[in-house]
């Protein structure tokens, strides 16, 4: 790659070119689809959740290179976390894990956070008993 100039850093490019967890989950337990008014990007995250833990995550993204990389990274980071942990997930984690994003592209990582949270809310809406428990954990 040394002779190649890239708009984003190597990690971002790598996730854009070879996105992890791309696709949909059959029988997903929670699905979130969100859009960014500013740039028109749309991101969808599906989660498989078992015993309060995110077992698997998938994304589909209509958006720029950093949006795709952000969703790839977000799904990668979130796997194995508990619902409570996932609820505190912040876009900054995506930015850090990607080794930074250009200032005008930070909103892509925000979109990933939002898609994840939408998927979790979708799951919790179907499991109100867990919602209460999660809130209890979060407010500790």
């Amino acid at each position: 790659m040394s002779d190649t100039y890239t708009l984003y850093n190597e990690t971002v490019m790598e996730h854009f070119m070879n996105p992890r967890n791309m696709g949909d989950l059959k029988d997903a337990d929670g699905i979130g689809e969100v859009g960014a008014a500013a740039c028109g990007d749309i991101m969808k995250i599906s989660l498989k959740i078992k015993d309060g833990k995110i077992e698997d995550a998938r994304f589909k993204t209509f958006g720029c290179g950093s949006a795709i990389a952000s969703s790839s990274m977000a799904t990668e980071l979130i796997k194995g976390r508990s619902i409570a942990e996932a609820m505190t997930f912040s876009n900054q984690e995506v930015v850090n894990a990607l080794g930074g994003l250009p200032p005008v592209k930070i909103h892509c990582s925000v979109l990933a956070e939002e898609a994840l949270k939408a998927a979790l809310e979708d799951y919790l809406a179907k499991h109100p008993e867990l919602a209460v428990k999660t809130e209890a954990v979060l407010s500790k």
């Binding site: 070119m17 689809e33 859009g35 960014a36 500013a38 028109g40 209509f62 958006g63 949006a67």
Partner: protein, 421 residues
């Protein structure tokens, strides 16, 4: 990996012949044209020649009508503001086409803050302006009509001759921005009745760092960069001699080679669009079909259900250089105002890229591009929630509506109404 440069509308390489002609003006003939000694006089001669070459490209009455600036943007600014300030006692109203380049539009916005007014004439869905709409926009306070020759974004060729006739009847100065056409379409300032025309040699194998503004002696113009008496007092500042020399030669070459270049890029343009449209579903050409209404260098494409930057990046990773959105402002997030003006659906505007051809592109380049682009679209659609939802009948296509599902825009509004920032 094959390398295919398809961004000739952004800029072109300097041709070796032009570079060679420029070389002495860095090292030996380095003088300042304002100097009265050998070093100054020698480069004055060189500049006089370049002025003739530039004048010839656009059939200007005289080399004296050529003003050298630093680039197309400065030329636009000088044409718009220079005419406005020079005529403000006569009137303060301007008429422009709504799809002008930002260097025109933003110059006008600046003037509006200072009390000038402007009518932005609308275009049709192909980006074409109707001369009668220009006529209707004229008031007795109108001092300038500005319409570009070819559109930088969607390649539409405007009826400048007809508009020039109207301007002539009304005695109003007429400015034609030829940045996107010079070198690729014949320009005749005299038969157009244009008093101001701008172009930049870096768009046709000349160097960056020089812009040209033609100004007929019939048009009043004041300078906007103040200082010394260079360019007859109309553009102060030490002249960029090597670039001026190179720009002159590039103009001469373009004038000579233009018929060949037009034929060549016209063929490739057709081959490229035919190939893409055959292999890819739900793809749309923005602006007129290849033919007399469209410049041969430009294809502006919207591929549905996927976004533009991703297409551009994957093209680039496969050796193909293309542009996304408005070629000169690609750092901004906003969608091109030209695409908005032709009423393009927001979803299609987002999936927009521009491929622009040059004299050195080949049929092999085109075929490789088609082949690669097909794979790219496939890959990005595979990642796109919109494509999935379209296939499942939840969303409908804008390009070829099936009658099933809601519109992309409706869907986007629904979900981004939620929590998007």
């Amino acid at each position: 990996m094959r390398r295919v440069y398809l961004d000739h509308q952004s800029t072109t390489p300097v041709s070796p012949e032009v570079f060679e002609a420029m070389t002495p003006y860095f090292l030996e003939a380095f003088g300042n044209p304002s100097s009265l000694h050998q070093h100054g006089l020698r480069v004055r001669d060189a500049m006089a020649k370049a002025r003739q070459q530039c004048a010839a490209l656009i059939n200007a009455e005289s080399p004296e009508d050529i003003i050298f600036t630093s680039d197309g943007t400065e030329s636009s600014n000088l044409a718009i503001k220079g005419v406005a300030y020079a005529n403000q006692r006569k009137g303060t109203h301007l008429v422009v086409c709504e799809t002008e380049h930002p260097s025109v539009i933003n110059s006008i916005e600046f003037l509006e803050k200072q009390g000038f007014t402007c009518t932005r004439v609308k275009v049709d869905p192909e980006g074409m302006i109707n001369p009668e709409d220009v006529r209707a926009a004229i008031t007795d306070k109108t001092i300038l009509i500005a319409v570009h020759h070819a559109n930088h974004d969607i390649g539409t060729i405007q009826p400048v001759k007809e508009i020039g006739k109207i301007a002539g009847e009304k005695g109003i100065a007429f400015y034609v921005d030829c940045e996107a056409s010079a070198g690729w379409l014949p320009i005749d300032v005299q038969s157009w009745g244009a008093q101001l025309v701008s172009f930049s040699p870096h768009r046709f194998y000349g160097p960056k760092g020089v812009g040209v503004l033609y100004r007929s002696r019939r048009a009043r113009l004041v300078s906007i960069l103040h200082g010394g008496v260079q360019e007859g007092g109309r553009r102060s500042g030490t002249e960029n001699v090597p670039a001026i020399v190179g720009g002159g030669l590039a103009s001469e070459i373009a004038l000579r080679e233009m018929p060949k270049w037009i034929e060549h890029t016209g063929k490739l343009q057709k081959r490229l669009w035919d190939g893409l449209k055959k292999e890819i579903t739900y793809i749309k050409l923005n602006g007129p079909e290849p033919g007399p209404k469209r410049i041969t260098t430009n294809l502006n494409l919207s591929t549905e259900f996927i976004e533009g930057e991703g297409q551009l990046l994957l093209c680039d990773m496969n050796g193909i250089a293309v542009a996304s959105g408005s070629s000169c402002v690609s750092k901004s997030l906003k969608i091109s105002h030209v695409l908005a003006a032709i009423g393009l659906d927001h979803a299609l505007a987002q999936g927009n890229i521009i491929m622009s051809l040059g004299k050195d592109n080949t049929e092999e380049d085109v075929d490789y591009t088609v082949e690669t682009f097909v794979k790219i679209v496939h890959k990005l659609r595979g990642m796109s929630p919109m494509w999935d939802e379209f296939e499942r009948g939840i969303l409908d296509s804008v390009i070829a509506p099936t009658g099933r599902g809601k519109s992309f825009s409706q869907h986007a509004a629904d979900i981004s109404g939620k929590a998007a920032h």
